[in-house]
């Protein structure tokens, strides 16, 4: 038996007539209606704007870094300035883009829709989360305007607590405040998923996107407070000249690293788990097949969340950490690769004998699977003590995490935006341009970061403003790649905005996908569903007949 498909919604107004049904976008007009909204969908759009601004800022820093690295000599900026560039690139990208992007934009928009709820559990907290995000952003921007910070995004003591003469405290405060924004989102998701599922929506009927965001939220709640207190201690030590991390006064700088990485390692899972959730959705939709090994993928998300807290010492192999503990962390780091690998195998198995179409979201999903695999495998390489001794603090590490963050998370984010854009806006974007962008992103990305693996292995240190001349060719390739990548990211900005006004109306379910979010109009009404659905089908219950009935543009080839 089917879920109560809102057939009436699909026939009410057709794209041809252009009649604008009441939806969350036209429910009210004016700044106040946006800035004081409680609607999770509007808050998602607010976040979309904010994270895009910070992404642009972080990219600007990246551009300047790559420009400096075109030549072996340090000749574009001062070495101090270069330190500030890579620090602010890291701080902005990690805390203000990678961590919030998928959860606060796609998660906020989709979680209530996917579980059949009217909104999140705490709508006001959701809005507060956005304001707090911007408040943290303001402190960080303030520090940037005054010259930024030069400690690296990792704020290591005693550089951050004593020797740096940059605006450490305001940047740390910015990150501290931003942490609350993330915590509010995490709290909201956990309560919503536990308590607000529609009738019949049991745990194992949930889309894997929800499982991923649930696991992410667990990490957020357990880990973020630790970096908060750590940064507070850094600020206190810096202001009051305490000795908690100062070796001359009996303190231990490695304690800072323990506290810092206890959060910052799980933070990378905050960045990748939502992306994995997106990929599960994309792979199912564009292979027209349910995800292979659903329960394994669901439990793998939880396993990643738990195991992710037990590996932080692999960032400290060379810091002076006990060799015995390092060995334990190394083994545990191998272990955490397993659930990620399970997911990659299961996505691949989903594709096998699926009915695959190569629309833009699928291009990003396929890119993700390949690039994340490379990033993940190199991760197991550096989890090995013997290799890490050689490549720690080189470009090998830089390449590894960019493969995961950019080749992984950002590709998933782009894929998700392209997949759900019709749901969010009710519009389609130009197919050719979007596929071109995906291609540019893929090519640009690999050209940027593949050479960096080689550079790192050959010994080029990271965070250095100059390098030996024999590394120049690879660096030039990397910078060329970055330029192409940049174009690939800029194009969607233009065609998404263009589509809001001039894009063809998408109809409610242009992909013919299965999920509660597709059973409601595009764009959805403010309360999401005219009647709360009762769920009786398993997740991703694809079969050809159903797909044909659902697709509102059966003949159209969309994005």
């Amino acid at each position: 038996m089917d879920t109560t498909a809102t057939v009436s919604d699909t026939t009410l107004a057709s794209p041809e007539t252009g009649y604008e049904r009441p939806n969350y976008l036209n429910a009210a007009y004016g700044m106040r209606s946006w800035l004081l909204t409680r609607d999770h969908k509007r808050i998602a759009i607010l976040y979309l704007i904010s994270v895009s601004v910070f992404f642009a800022l972080g990219s600007l820093f990246a551009l300047l870094i790559r420009l400096e690295l075109l030549t072996p000599e340090g000749d574009m900026v001062q070495p101090d300035t270069y330190n500030r560039l890579f620090t602010m690139h890291g701080v902005v990208m990690v805390f203000f883009f990678l961590i919030p992007a998928i959860p606060a934009v796609l998660g906020n928009f989709l979680v209530p829709l996917m579980i059949g709820a009217k909104d999140l559990a705490f709508p006001k907290l959701n809005l507060a989360s956005w304001y707090v995000y911007n408040l943290g952003g303001i402190f960080t921007l303030w520090s940037i305007v005054h010259g930024g910070v030069d400690t690296g995004w990792t704020f290591y003591a005693p550089l951050s607590t004593q020797y740096s003469n940059t605006y450490v405290i305001s940047a740390a405060l910015g990150v501290f405040i931003n942490g609350f924004s993330t915590i509010f989102t995490g709290m909201n998701f956990i309560v919503t998923i536990h308590r607000m599922r529609a009738p019949g929506m049991t745990w194992f009927r949930l889309p894997l996107f929800i499982w991923s965001h649930y696991a992410t939220s667990l990490i957020i709640v357990l880990g973020t407070p630790v970096i908060a207190i750590t940064l507070l201690l850094v600020a206190a030590e810096r202001l009051l000249h305490l000795g908690i991390f100062d070796p001359r006064l009996g303190g231990d700088p490695i304690l800072f690293q323990h506290l810092f990485w206890f959060y910052s390692h799980p933070a990378v899972y905050i960045m990748i788990l939502p992306a994995m959730g997106v990929i599960s959705e994309l792979v199912a939709a564009f292979a027209r097949k349910r995800v292979f090994g659903y329960r394994f993928v669901a439990f793998a998300s939880i396993a990643i969340a738990v195991l992710g807290f037990l590996v932080w010492g692999h960032h400290m192999f060379l810091a002076g950490q006990s060799i015995y503990l390092s060995t334990i962390f190394s083994i545990l780091s191998m272990l955490v690769a397993v659930p990620s690998a399970i997911k990659v195998f299961n996505w691949t198995a989903t594709l096998y004998e699926g009915s695959i179409s190569y629309q833009t979201p699928m291009l990003y999903a396929l890119g993700f699977i390949g690039l994340f695999t490379i990033g993940g495998l190199t991760g197991t390489m550096i989890a090995t003590l013997g290799i890490d001794v050689h490549v720690h603090d080189t470009y090998f590490i830089v390449a590894h995490f960019h493969y995961i963050m950019v080749g992984g998370t950002i590709m998933a984010y782009m894929g998700g935006l392209h997949y759900w854009w019709p749901k969010i806006s009710g519009r389609l974007y130009p197919a050719f341009l979007s596929r071109l962008s995906a291609l540019l992103v893929f090519v640009g990305f690999n050209l940027t970061f593949l050479p960096q693996f080689v550079l790192g292995y050959l010994g080029m240190p990271r965070r250095y403003w100059s390098y030996p001349p024999e590394f120049q060719v690879l660096n030039v390739l990397s910078t060329a790649g970055a330029s192409i990548l940049g174009v690939g990211y800029v194009l969607p900005l233009f065609y998404f905005i263009w589509s809001m006004r001039y894009g063809k109306r998408s109809g409610d379910n242009p992909w013919g996908a299965i999920g509660l979010e597709w059973d409601t109009p595009s764009p959805p009404p403010t309360d999401n569903f005219h009647t709360i659905p009762v769920v009786t089908r398993p997740p991703y219950a694809y079969n050809e007949q159903e797909v044909h009935d659902r697709t509102s543009h059966p003949e159209a080839r969309v994005g």
């Binding site: 709820a117 999140l120 995490g186 607000m196 880990g223 407070p225 305490l242 908690i244 009996g250 506290l259």
Partner: protein
């Protein structure tokens, strides 16, 4: 679990309760959600204070002797009195919620006020302690002076002491503020057996602050309590 209500008309009674928010189907769902939400926030607080406890445990083990000597300078009696005061205030806030469950409007207000007063007593005693430390030159900074070997390690003890108890006191002040904000609606009869979520959630927060102190007291004060 998730409500089984589907048609809005069917659950008329719940929908007429003024406190029911539109995203929820029933007061019960709302209560369970806000309680779970508060508990999740408390988990973040456990980890927040937890970072400080970690630092303390690490240094306590490394500098056992100096930390014991430094702890000797803390006033065990005042600390014990404060512990009793906080436990008492946990009782009073629990009784405020009990009053709501019993529809005793004035009882709610009485116990809220009593809790705030007890919080004030705690902070007053803390102020006395802090001023003693100031006069004894035990506040970390340029005026810090410790009689004994490794004064810099003693300074770490006092840094942690002030940060941990200071953060705790800050949480108490915030808690007192929230409790105070509940007095007016309580007086107006907004809370009763059918709805007292804000009281419950604030109570949970207050009890948590009490638990933090339950651990702070022995760790900081009782270290050097036995005579040497």
């Amino acid at each position: 679990m998730a409500s089984t209500t589907m048609e809005p008309e069917a659950d008329a009674a719940a929908h007429h309760h003024p406190a029911l928010q539109h995203q929820f189907d029933s007061l019960e769902q709302q209560k369970e959600s806000s309680t779970l939400g508060m508990w999740l926030f408390l988990v973040t607080e456990i980890m927040f204070f937890g970072g400080l406890f970690t630092a303390y445990v690490v240094y306590r083990r490394t500098f056992q002797g100096v930390f014991a000597a430094a702890s000797h300078h803390l006033d065990v009696t005042l600390g014990a009195i404060n512990t009793a005061v906080l436990i008492f205030s946990s009782l009073t806030v629990a009784l405020a919620i009990w009053s709501a469950q019993m529809n005793r409007r004035k009882g709610i207000v009485f116990f809220l006020v009593l809790t705030i007063l007890l919080g004030g007593v705690f902070l007053g005693i803390k102020t006395v302690e802090y001023s003693h430390k100031f006069h004894d030159n035990l506040v970390p900074g340029p005026n810090f002076h410790f009689d004994g070997p490794s004064p810099e390690k003693a300074e770490i003890f006092f840094s942690l002491y002030f940060i941990m108890t200071g953060l705790h006191a800050l949480h108490m002040i915030i808690g007192m503020g929230v409790l105070a904000a509940l007095i007016r609606p309580a007086w107006k009869g907004r809370y009763d057996a059918s709805y007292y979520n804000p009281l419950e959630c604030t109570g949970l927060y207050w009890h948590f602050v009490d638990i933090v102190w339950i651990f702070l007291f022995p760790l900081l004060y009782l270290l050097g309590a036995h005579a040497r």
